[in-house]
């Protein structure tokens, strides 16, 4: 057995995890600053220059807090659930290609952890597993708000998972592959459209799918306006009402890492990932992912929250039919070979 690529992948995954954690930490800072900016406030600015040390202070605070387990909690599940959430969150990033292969110390290193044949489905699978952290945490807390939050989350994630998956089918049809590396390669081509040279990003050929993916991804990560499972004005804090200390921080971490991972995936699938003008590279991916993250924050600062039934109605009555239409149209276009997309 050839151990070397395995070890390289492992090392890369380790680096990736740490980068994600760091990015997550500063994502919280960024979000607070941005929301403050949207809301005519200042935001955290005391801890370090521009409040840059705020995430560290938060981390210290959260870790040093007491870890409370409610008396009527299902103790084992209660303790494991946040870990589950946290462990599953960054797994999706493993299939994101961060660039072409580079040579480090004389070795060819691929800038992705794994390139599997079913990468996109793998991302969906990991996402669908992520709900266990929420549902088990909500159940195990023995609190009615938590239970309601868990119930909401279950229904929401199942519904939007479907939309998320179906919105990608158009891309699969156009590329004939589920591997993110392949999808990225297709997007690195140039699309010539009536004299215009455009990047062959799927944003251009699958705009409807992009919008659907965006909406479903926001719902999948439980962010506003789909943050029903943790709607603070209704359910206190939803499934993590009873959590405190570092277990709470695990949920928190998981939520933000999920956001980042989904942004990375969205940027790779629809915006050409590392493809960009001038020099391709991981910075383009970062810029694109940042656009998504900014969009997340923007949504949170702007939109009210959906109601549970409206949320379900949106998924099943609007987004799902649209996704199916998109698949049908894409299939027909591919079948008739109109355009060289």
């Amino acid at each position: 057995m050839d151990w070397e690529p395995l070890i390289v992948s492992y090392l890369f995954g380790f680096v990736l995890l740490n980068v994600l954690l760091l990015a997550m930490a500063y994502m919280t800072w960024l979000e607070r600053r941005l929301v403050a900016f949207f809301q005519d406030r200042i935001g955290p600015n005391r801890t370090g220059p521009f409040g840059l040390l705020q995430p560290i202070a938060d981390a210290v605070k959260l870790i040093s807090k007491e870890d409370i387990v409610p008396a009527n909690a299902d103790r084992l599940v209660f303790l494991v659930a946040p870990l589950l959430s946290f462990v599953l969150a960054p797994l999706g990033a493993l299939v994101v290609p961060f660039g072409d292969a580079v040579t480090v110390f004389g070795r060819q290193v691929n800038l992705y952890v794994i390139d599997i044949n079913v990468a996109a489905l793998y991302f969906l699978a990991v996402g669908s597993m992520g709900v266990y952290g929420i549902i088990l945490g909500g159940y195990a807390s023995g609190n009615r708000y938590s239970l309601l939050g868990a119930l909401r989350s279950t229904a929401q994630v199942i519904s939007y998972e479907l939309v998320l998956g179906l919105s990608l089918v158009g891309i699969f049809i156009l590329t004939g592959s589920l591997s993110l590396v392949d999808i990225l390669r297709v997007q690195q081509r140039t699309l010539v459209l009536g004299g215009l040279e455009l990047p062959n990003w799927f944003l251009l050929s699958q705009p409807l799918a992009f919008v659907l993916f965006l909406i479903a991804a926001v719902a999948e990560t439980n962010r506003a306006p789909f943050d029903l499972p943790e709607a603070e004005t209704e359910l206190i804090a939803g499934y993590f009402t009873e959590y405190s200390g570092f277990r709470f921080s695990f949920y928190f971490l998981a939520e933000y890492i999920n956001m980042i991972v989904v942004s990375l995936i969205a940027a790779t699938l629809f915006l050409g990932g590392i493809d960009g003008p001038f020099v391709d590279g991981v910075w383009w991916l970062a810029v694109k992912a940042f656009i998504f993250l900014f969009f997340y924050v923007w949504l949170r600062a702007t939109l009210p929250r959906f109601r549970y039934d409206q949320l379900m109605g949106l998924a099943w009555k609007v987004l799902l039919p649209l996704a199916l239409i998109n698949i049908g149209v894409t299939g027909l276009v591919r079948l008739w070979g109109i355009g060289a997309l």
Partner: protein, 409 residues
Amino acid sequence: MIDFTQPTPVLLSEERQITETRRELVLNMGPQHPSTHGVLRVRLTLEGEMVVACDPVIGYLHRGVEKLGESHRYAQIVPWTDRTDYVAAPSNNLGYVLAVEKLCGIEAPERAQYWRMIMAELARIASHLVWLGTHALDIGALSVSLYTFRDRELILDIFEKFCGARLTTNMMEIGGFSRQIPPALPEMVRDFCRYLPKAIREYEDLLTENPIWLARTKGVGIVEPEIAISYSLTGACLRGSGVNYDVRKAMPYLLYDRIDFAVPLGTHGDVYDRYLVRVEEMRQSIRIIEQCLDQVPADGPLMAYESNYVIPPHERVMTTAEDMQRHFIWVIKGFSPPKGEVYHAVEHSKGELGYYIVSDGSPIPYRMRIRSPDFVNLQSLPYMAQGAMLADVVALIGTIDIVLGSVDR
């Protein structure tokens, strides 16, 4: 629809028998809950996410203001009224002092009346701003609340300039105002009136046409006009259902009959209509304030004079013996209105705020009773909540616009 010809059975919540409802989930919302506006407790019986029954439980902020009224002299009660509905304190002051003035048969000078109107309308705007912010926050629109609180600060600045206090202003006095109007105040208010319409447009941009906002508010919490009347709702809760009742129009007090303004009425009676009505009321308040500022005399007395019921002006206390005596008595003993009972209502930002005072001729009221609008309006919550979703309940609490200090008194 309720059949008015038949008495409706009233079942009290605590005695309710839960017999065949094993599947229901009883959820205690509050008294510690982010969106119950203080210490309201709502017992919700849920079937899934649907509300089968909803019982508001109140009293967590009861301080016995009415009872306190029976042991304080008339002039001492004014600060207590501040503390009922603390987001629109001047309106509470106004209701009380008008009731006492009616009891005593005195009237404040014209200039004071105009300034009372200005302050009451500012209080209405301040209250509506707080309501809009929290209501939007309940429904999840985070930013609106910060915008409205930002603009409410301007009103509080005006209050501070006028009387020195921001929240519990204690600004109205029996007979008018004993302090002078700061010279810069009219311009300050005018500036505010120029600024606020822009701010309102900003809120409306964020909410009025927002599809999610529409989805969350349209068709939710419908109250038919008959039901609204039978619950004796007042204020925007009543007018949102299309019933034309505004104390300022129906029983004009102060100088509202000299002012040209319109009372907005809803057409569907849902949360969205009440939202529209309140936003429009803010605009109308601006119109009222501007007209008041145009009409108010620049000079003139601010305090009714030559009466035992009002505190004499300072320089006359210092210069004349009679006034010094009157001042002494007023302060030490208080004043004794004639025997009788009186009810006076004002249009508070939340509805009809009425003060009912019984006087036995002593300097202390025999009985004081506050008809607080949010207490009455809150009763419609179970009606609106039945069959609604859990998430609607917070929207409904928000739409009633309660301040627990006023509900519990």
